[in-house]
Symmetry: C2
Subunit: 409 residues, 2 copies
């Protein structure tokens, strides 16, 4: 008998039929005697429908009112799942975020959880209820409804697990775990039985969108046992997100290959290399609300250096304009060049900390395939390269094989 | 400068375009310096959509969870109207029923309002906000979301007006007031400038569905000034619901003609006339959740009487079955007969209390047209007759003319 928080995403509750399937799955766990809190998202498509309505009415929807609207999506889901559970003769009860209550700050549309009241929930659990809690939402001190931002339902699950000291927080999704890389590109990709928090943070930020990054950080901070499973497969064990020290000796050096083709690269050539130059380039870009991902600056020659970074592909034209109109003349750079036909490929693994030679192996493997590396950045547990977009699949496949990720061990 | 509660129904907020129209109307009142609380219903169709979803999941949807779902309809409306007001540069803020809070009992799907917290609302009004409050909903002492039953948004408006002592509660709807009868049947039908609470209660229960009955009772109890207006016509004055003593001397004897063709009549013939017989007939019908409207029992002959009543037309077959299978043999009645091709026509008016001859005039007018009266019931301020359905329009027209309702006075 254990105490589980289970989170089901929008796809898992995307129709009343699917909600009934979730209810049957929950019923199985309930029959095994487990205590259960189920966190659900809005039915898939619902949040976008509501945002579209808001946009029809106000050119820049008021964040407080947007939260009032959007939070109804999960409110409908919790009621439907509670009903579906009752239809299976299980005592169930729904809670909105405000009812729990999940106290947040007042940063509407991207609120942070401050505190979770446990009393009502504990009483209901003791009384034998399966509780169904609306993900993604809370209420601030004044009682206004807040939302946690896209994907915030994962965060709700983890926060409940942390506050109530659940045995495990299980994130049910449309994949059956986290893979060494995308199986659509490398058929030999394997589901990982475990992955460390550090690795998944790197994988997530590189485009493997199985878990919301913030919920993983949250879980790491409060040492919540987090597991990703499929809501469409029976009895899968998914992937357990774990701590480095828990991992066995035989852990592979590299855990997975991540990739991302949503980016564009920009290089400012011939930049006078003096203090403050990085800020002068990146500052105006950030001021225009453009996110910058990789940033690379190499040593300078003759007082001049080249400064490169990547942005989301959709921001490419806008960024080029800002650089050419505002920044280049201002800082006296020689030229601004860029391209949006690129892809980023990364190898990730906590094991690389203690192993030399990962980078050189990666570069050799790519060279053997004639794939030119345009940019490189590294962190403690990952190495990312930018290559021509057309080589992305090939790069992922050969790296996956070279690092033995298709081997079961 | 006055303090108005304005309620807009589902049709008035049925699309984002209509919501913008409501916002423009509210803006006009705001510009005149009035304090405003706007109560809105769910967008038309939304409540039915949500109930249909619930029915897909649970054969008999749990009332608590149904309220959680259905209340999202108004929650979306209040956010959208607040946004639309802000788009017109008006400070606006939405409130759900639970946020106000509107405290109700725990009778889910048909809760009664117990108390309204004024503090937050008063503060916001003082701060210059137009408040947009979700109709139809509240929360019980445990914080569970409740709904007040269909049409409960009118009740929310009246309850707010009573609690906050507003100058007037204005119910905006798709008609521009209350008419002497249905203008589709009698083109000469006039909008009444005023109608008494007693009259509107009789009119409403007879099928004139402009206002929800309960809200009218509520308004009468707390002496709330209630006005019905059109949300599609500019500057109409609508119909003011008033108290008998406020009415002028020149008030007509009859205020309006109501009618209803949704009923069926049933007569149990040759019933042994002894105490308890009415209960023995009506009890099993009520137990089957069938509403009974008119009930008529005349004096008996030779210890036998005939017992008649009307039910909703959709309940006719079911009721006949109950009577023939369970009641007739049990009480030893001679026969059960009935018909569903009937209509009820009523004349209503507080003036009839002090005027003899209304009934005889009504019966004479119908007789002159060859319309046979099948059943008659009376109350202090109304006389209802059941006639063959095919004569309904004719009956309404001739009565409307006979009682001078087409005269402007």
């Amino acid at each position: 008998m254990a105490f589980y928080i289970q989170k089901y995403g929008g796809t898992s509750v995307g129709s009343t039929e699917r909600i009934k399937n979730v209810a049957r799955r929950v019923a199985k766990f309930h029959a095994q005697g487990h205590q259960l809190i189920i966190v659900v998202s809005a039915m898939s498509g619902e949040t976008n429908r509501l945002i579209a309505l808001a946009n029809e009415v106000q050119s820049n929807p008021d964040p407080r009112e947007l939260d009032v609207m959007v939070s109804t999506g999960e409110q409908v889901s919790v009621a439907l799942l509670s009903m579906a559970l009752m239809e299976l003769n299980i005592k169930a009860k729904s809670y909105t975020g405000a009812q729990v209550r999940i106290l947040t700050d007042s940063a509407h549309t991207k609120a942070r959880i401050l505190k979770i009241d446990e009393d009502k929930i504990r009483d209901d659990l003791k009384a034998g209820y399966v509780l169904v809690v609306a993900g993604f939402q809370g209420a601030d001190a004044a009682g206004s409804i807040t939302t946690l931002g896209r994907g915030g339902s994962d965060t709700t699950g983890v926060a409940l697990a942390a506050a109530l000291k659940a045995d495990e927080c299980q994130i049910y999704t449309d994949v059956d775990g986290i893979y060494t890389t995308d199986p659509r590109i490398v058929p030999e990709a394997r589901r990982m039985k475990t992955i460390t928090f550090e690795e998944i943070l790197e994988m997530a930020s590189l485009g493997s969108k199985v878990l919301q990054l913030r919920s993983v950080e949250f879980a790491g901070k409060y040492k919540v046992r987090l597991r990703v499973l499929s809501s469409f497969i029976e009895d899968g064990e998914g992937t357990l997100i774990t701590y480095e020290e828990e991992r066995g000796m035989e852990q592979a050096v590299i855990s997975g290959i991540a990739f991302n083709r949503d980016e564009a690269k920009i290089t400012v050539l011939g930049v006078p290399d003096h203090p403050g130059i990085a800020y002068q380039i990146v500052g105006p870009v950030a001021d225009a609300n453009i996110d910058v991902d990789m940033i690379i600056q190499n040593v300078s020659h003759d007082g001049l250096t080249d400064f490169s970074f990547t942005v989301h592909r959709g921001d490419f034209d806008n960024t080029m304009e800002i650089l050419r109109d505002k920044i280049q003349p201002h800082i006296g750079a020689r030229d601004v060049i860029g391209g949006d036909r690129i892809a980023k490929v990364s190898v990730v693994g906590v094991g690389m900390r203690s192993h030399a030679g990962i980078a050189s192996k990666m570069f050799r493997v790519l060279a053997e395939e004639g794939i030119n590396i345009q940019m490189i950045t590294t962190s403690e547990i990952k190495i990312s390269v930018v290559v021509d977009e057309k080589y992305m699949e090939l790069a992922v496949r050969v790296l996956h094989k070279a690092f033995d990720l298709d081997q079961v061990f």
